[in-house]
């Protein structure tokens, strides 16, 4: 094969001249760089990279060149078109990104506008505190027992060593069902649940009984005819008051914080013997000498009355079918309404009961 004979070229094709290709390429690159929207880029693509663009037209001329020149010209035009397409793609991506940014910027909202279309519910603290207390005991392996609010007189009183002529029975301001001879009451404490538990289960028994109880108190800022208690009952072999103390200490710490302790004062309840009242170290002043004198929560005492407790009276065990020779047990009880009012500084107990939604809403769904 002979080498190409340049002398044999009939013409020199102007568009394929190196300087001409370079010019076309540069014009295209300048137009691409100048395009600042996808719309403009579309136009640039037609003008500089389309079928009718100068470089495309120049490319068609290559065939007119002598074979020896075609390769060189083809390379030149090809490189130029490559550069243009690359620049076009790069610029398109750039402009697309910029346009997206602009769109997002345009979509900016005022996030301080309210978003409160949906109603917001809440659970009553008397409900959630009962659950909280139950959880503390369930975590210790106890169970939660419940019973009716209208209760048989025998279960509310007699079975708990409160016979008909027991002086302590007059201390209980009891709602009686009509007629009184029906021997039914609104339970004055959750203790009948303890009796029911002993009557229906065999020891060991470890139960807490949160619930609603009733006394004939007129409603005022510090009294309600209905309130809530939690009582606990443990029946097992070898239980002593020390176990009662340990349980109450744990309960107090779980509710009020690790530094809270309890103390016992001797007392009297028919269903326990020995009996004690249990006080909590004041959870506000901690009986700190520097603070206690002015503490409103404990009234300067350093301790807050919490509840009653004691060793289950063997007479109660016998009435409920538990053998006191084999088992002993302890019981305790405390009010929950005051726990709420004192912790949240609520001056009037009636606020818990009248149903104003502003009372419950701040508690959300838990304490």
């Amino acid at each position: 094969m002979s080498a190409p004979n340049s002398d044999y070229d009939p013409v020199e094709v102007t568009p394929l001249r190196a300087d001409e290709v370079e010019r076309m390429r540069d014009e295209a690159l300048a137009a691409i760089a100048a395009a600042d929207s996808l719309e403009a880029l579309k136009q640039v693509r037609i003008e500089h990279a389309g079928d009718r663009s100068p470089l495309a037209l120049a490319n068609r001329e290559i065939g007119a060149l002598p074979p020896a020149a075609r390769k060189e010209a083809g390379k030149r035009v090809g490189r130029a078109r490559g550069a243009v397409n690359q620049a076009l793609a790069a610029r398109t991506a750039e402009v697309e990104a910029a346009e997206f940014e602009r769109r997002l910027a345009e979509e900016t909202v005022d996030v301080t506008l309210p978003a409160d279309i949906e109603p917001v519910g809440a659970r009553h603290p008397l409900t959630t505190i009962q659950e909280h207390v139950a959880d503390i005991f369930v975590a210790m392996g106890w169970e939660v027992a419940e019973g009716p609010e209208v209760e048989a007189e025998w279960l509310n009183f007699d079975a708990l060593n409160l016979g008909p002529d027991h002086p302590a029975r007059t201390m209980q301001d009891t709602f009686w069902l009509d007629p009184e001879s029906a021997a039914m009451v609104l339970r004055t404490h959750t203790s009948p649940v303890q009796a029911r538990t002993m009557l229906t289960r065999t020891p060991p028994i470890y139960v807490v009984c949160p619930g609603r109880v009733y006394r004939t108190d007129e409603a005022d800022a510090t009294h309600m005819p209905v309130f809530h208690q939690v009582e606990g009952l443990a029946i097992d072999k070898g239980l002593s008051i020390a176990h009662l103390k340990g349980t109450l200490d744990h309960f107090a710490r779980a509710i009020y914080g690790t530094e809270i302790t309890t103390r016992f004062r001797p007392s009297y309840f028919p269903f326990t013997e020995p009996s004690a009242e249990v006080d909590l170290l004041c959870y506000v002043c901690h009986n700190d000498p520097a603070k206690v004198a002015d503490c409103r929560t404990c009234g300067g005492e350093g301790w807050v009355e919490w509840g009653g407790c004691g060793v289950v009276n063997p007479r109660v065990l016998i009435a409920c079918g538990v053998d006191p020779e084999e088992y002993s047990g302890f019981a305790f009880g405390m009010g929950l309404d005051r726990t709420i009012t004192s912790r949240y500084d609520i001056a009037d107990l009636r606020d818990l009961w009248d149903g104003d939604i502003r009372f419950t809403e701040p508690f959300g769904v838990g304490l």
Partner: protein, 836 residues
């Protein structure tokens, strides 16, 4: 029980340096709980003054003040020129009271005196145009009890009882303190100085001399004849006779002081002595005017219809359960509770019959309750008074009457009956330690029991303890555990956490109830707790018809209010009251719920049996208890007022409608995985056309819908109000142990729309159920449009459904879909539906 500290200290020699506060703290830890320390807070120059001159000055406000010149001895200032009367050394004092006269001795608090009853320090101050240089004190300002003579104001001292300038704090014993102790019902013995003193001596480990240990008169001849017809109710009855007392004799100041400090009013010497001995020894006793007694004293039960006028001047009708003291004239006293007025000591009485007896606690308790007479005597007898005391207490009364009133104790004493004997109690020697958790050796326990007056045997590891006559609280082994622990100290109980095994956590019911609570809150409802008390008027407000079973109420025998004599059969009573309160307080939207019990009587009303307590009741007996109780299921109720979705800048509000109530019910059902059947219902207080009855397997479990507009209006609730109430116990009982399993196909879905024209009366739910049942390929059917109007014609409506079809095992073919469509259309046609 009020215990004057000075009196207590006269009976117990406390260790040096024991303050009243320390005494109170120790007694509190010894089960004699301090309520408060009374008295003792007055400081500063509180002195005796003599009123020299009084100038009454009427004021513009209508009252007259007295501008006084008062001689306060060494506290006088040399001159008070503007005070009334001659300007001698004295003080000028303005006083608003009028019950004193020139020459009276009064108590003056000079500037600088602090009176706790007022809570501030007296100063010299300008008032009513004068400088009042102190204050003339009333009894209440001094913290002294009022009686008839002082209730009108200023305390006027007896003439010549002191001199101007004397220290009134010492004179009146105002530095003395009194312990107000809360005595638990089992510690009857502590309702006396004797009992408190014994406990104090044991608590401080100091010697104790029993004030009841005293010689008693010989019983070889009777004093005043007595017959006891009921020796169970009255085991012991004693009388002594004191003659020749001086009716003019007055009660000495020291005795008045102790009585008043102990909270009793002085009345007359004889009565004061009687009360004093009751306080000192704990033995209630009674003095009769012997001249008024007719024949023997007879202790017997009342006869039906018998009456007695008691000392409080009330004519009382007696029943055979009442124990009486009688003479030939009839009843002269309600035994152990209150004397009768016919034989009362009066200002002429000179001869006195002293009664001291022991009565059965239950008898006195019942009488006291029946006649609503919780007297000091009854309070002691019903808890138990030392049966060994009567003669000794009567002798003490006699001794004081002889000493203070110049009487003579007649020889002899009448004593009828014998004090009941105490039985010994036996228990293992380690019981105190085992139950208390405190290391208490048998020897320590023995020492405690003996100090408390018990007779103790300790053999072969067992105690046999006989309690003393005054300890009614020592009957069972555990009572002796308490006694030992009281001495060992409750503060010494160690803290040991028990370790139960195998707790099963919350029950399914408890857990589901919590879930329901959370779901209700999630649905935007605020939980309330309301009182269950209500009355028929509440049902009237709810438009509950007279023949509605809910009219049969569980009623209380002693309701707090006559308007609310019953327990509510529906939560809506409390919820609507709460909704009304919220609207009244300015809320526009109120969405509240409650979970609580409702109450309805059993069809057959029974009395709950009362069993003995010496054994466990049988299963049948226990079942009988429950069978008597009214039904009291837990319900869940809710009331929605206002906007279910709030109007705002980006959306219009959506007012509450009946559908919201239905949605809440469905959410609850979904939560519990139960399927409610919903049908048109009719129940007050709902709108008759907008109430859904909810059933579970044919059992009605609730109603939801729109509140009857009249009920909404009655409660002042604006707009349409949605409400509902469901039997939560029934829903939870029906909840499956395991919920539905996930069941879905990954093959493609075919979406088909249908619009059916049906008779307007056809419930959409029926058509939907028909569609759902038409093809096993049906995945879901959702009604998305309801149309009534010209295009469907009068009495007709169009119901449009979006239906999704899908097979579990293949991609549906056109033929599958066509077949399914046809089945759906024909199922609908069976209800008269035409495809549009």
């Amino acid at each position: 029980m009020r215990v004057p500290v000075e009196w207590l200290r006269s009976l117990v020699e406390l260790p040096d340096g024991v303050t009243t506060e320390a005494l109170a703290d120790r007694l509190t830890m010894y089960d004699l709980k301090l309520e408060e320390i009374v008295g003792g807070g007055i400081t500063g120059p509180l002195v005796v003054g003599r009123v020299l001159a009084i100038s009454p000055e009427p004021q513009k406000n209508g009252k007259t003040i007295n501008w006084c010149r008062v001689d306060v001895g060494r506290h006088n200032v040399s001159s008070v020129p503007d005070a009334p009367g001659e300007d001698v050394p004295s003080r000028g004092i303005v006083c608003g009271a009028h019950n004193f006269a020139v020459g009276d001795l009064v108590v003056v608090s000079l500037p600088g005196t602090y009176l706790p009853a007022l809570g501030f320090e007296i100063g010299s101050r300008k008032t009513y145009g004068h400088v009042s240089d102190g204050m003339i004190c009333s009894t209440s300002e001094l913290g002294l009890p009022d009686d008839e003579t002082t209730a009108s104001g200023i305390l006027v001292l007896p003439p010549d009882s002191a001199r101007p300038g004397d220290d009134a704090i010492a004179l009146l014993g105002l530095a003395d303190q009194t312990l107000d102790l809360e005595v638990n019902p089992d510690r009857a013995y502590a309702l006396s100085l004797r009992g408190v003193a014994r406990d104090t001596a044991i608590a401080f480990d100091v010697p104790f001399a029993d004030p009841a240990d005293r010689p008693t008169p010989s019983t070889d001849r009777p004093a005043y004849p007595v017959r006891v017809e009921d020796s169970t109710a009255c085991p012991v009855f004693t009388t002594l006779v004191v003659t020749g007392i001086d009716p003019e004799a007055t009660t000495p100041a020291w005795l008045v002081k102790r009585l008043t400090d102990a909270g009793m009013r002085p009345i007359s010497l004889t009565v004061d002595v009687s009360n004093y001995v009751m306080l000192e020894l704990g033995q209630p006793n009674h003095c009769y005017d012997r001249a008024k007694l007719r024949g023997d004293i007879v202790v017997r039960r009342a006869r039906p219809g018998e009456t007695l006028r008691t000392l409080d001047d009330v004519e009382r009708t007696l029943t055979p359960d009442d124990l009486l003291i009688t003479d030939d004239s009839g009843p002269i006293g309600l035994a152990g509770v209150m004397g009768g007025d016919r034989v009362e000591i009066d200002e002429h009485s000179t001869d006195v019959v002293i009664e001291a007896a022991h009565f059965n606690p239950v008898t006195i308790f019942r009488t006291q309750k029946r006649h609503k007479l919780p007297t000091e005597a009854a309070k002691r007898f019903e808890r138990g008074v030392d049966p060994e005391l009567p003669l000794r207490a009567a002798a003490r009364v006699a001794e004081l009457l002889v000493e203070l009133a110049g009487g003579t104790l007649e020889p002899g004493a009448t004593v009828v009956g014998d004090p009941p004997r105490r039985s010994p109690v036996s228990f293992p020697a380690d019981l105190p330690e085992r139950i208390s958790g405190v290391p208490i050796t048998p020897e320590q326990a023995r020492a405690t029991y003996e100090r408390n007056g018990c007779t103790v045997e300790l053999t072969e590891g067992r105690f046999t303890v006989t309690p003393p006559s005054w300890r009614f609280d020592l009957n069972d082994p555990y009572d002796f555990v308490e006694e030992a622990l009281r001495t060992a100290g409750y503060q010494n109980v160690p803290s040991v956490l028990p370790t139960p095994t195998g707790g099963r956590g919350l029950t399914r019911e408890q857990e589901l109830r919590r879930r329901v609570g959370h779901v209700l809150a999630g649905a935007g409802l605020v939980e309330v707790t309301t009182l269950p008390f209500m009355g028929p008027a509440d049902l009237d407000r709810l438009l509950v018809p007279q023949d509605d079973p809910r009219r049969d109420l569980v009623r209380l025998a002693n309701p707090l209010s006559a308007e609310e004599p019953a327990l509510s059969p529906t939560l809506l009573v409390g919820l609507l009251r709460a909704a009304s309160l919220n609207i009244g307080r300015g809320h526009e939207t109120v969405q509240i719920s409650e979970i609580g019990r409702v109450f309805r009587p059993r069809a057959e009303r029974r009395e709950a049996p009362i069993y003995g307590v010496d054994r466990r009741p049988t299963e049948e007996e226990l079942a009988a208890l429950d069978a008597a109780l009214p039904e009291q299921p837990r319900h869940v109720g809710f009331v929605l007022v206002g906007e279910r979705q709030r109007s705002g800048w980006n959306a219009p509000g959506r007012p509450v409608s009946w559908t919201d109530a239905k949605a809440v019910a469905q959410r609850l059902a979904d939560t519990l995985h139960v399927e409610l059947q919903i049908a048109p219902g009719s129940l007050a207080p709902f709108h008759p056309g907008r109430c859904a009855r909810l059933t579970l397997d044919g059992e009605v479990v609730g109603h939801v819908g729109e509140l009857h507009p009249k009920v909404a209006e009655e409660y002042g609730l604006p707009g349409r109000v949605a409400a509902g109430e469901l039997d939560l116990d029934a829903l939870i009982a029906a909840a499956p142990a395991i919920g539905p399993k996930p069941d879905f196909s990954a093959f493609p879905v075919a979406k088909e729309d249908f619009a059916f024209v049906v008779d307007e009366s056809l419930p959409a739910g029926e058509l939907e159920a028909a569609i759902r049942g038409a093809s096993e390929l049906l995945e879901s059917a959702r009604l998305f449009d309801v149309y009534t109007g010209d295009q469907v014609g009068e009495g007709r409506k169009s119901l449009a459904f979006k239906v999704r079809l899908r097979a579990a095992d293949r991609t549906l073919t056109d033929a599958d879909i066509k077949a399914a469509r046809e089945r759906i259309v024909s199922a609908a046609a069976a209800l008269g539906a035409e495809l549009r």
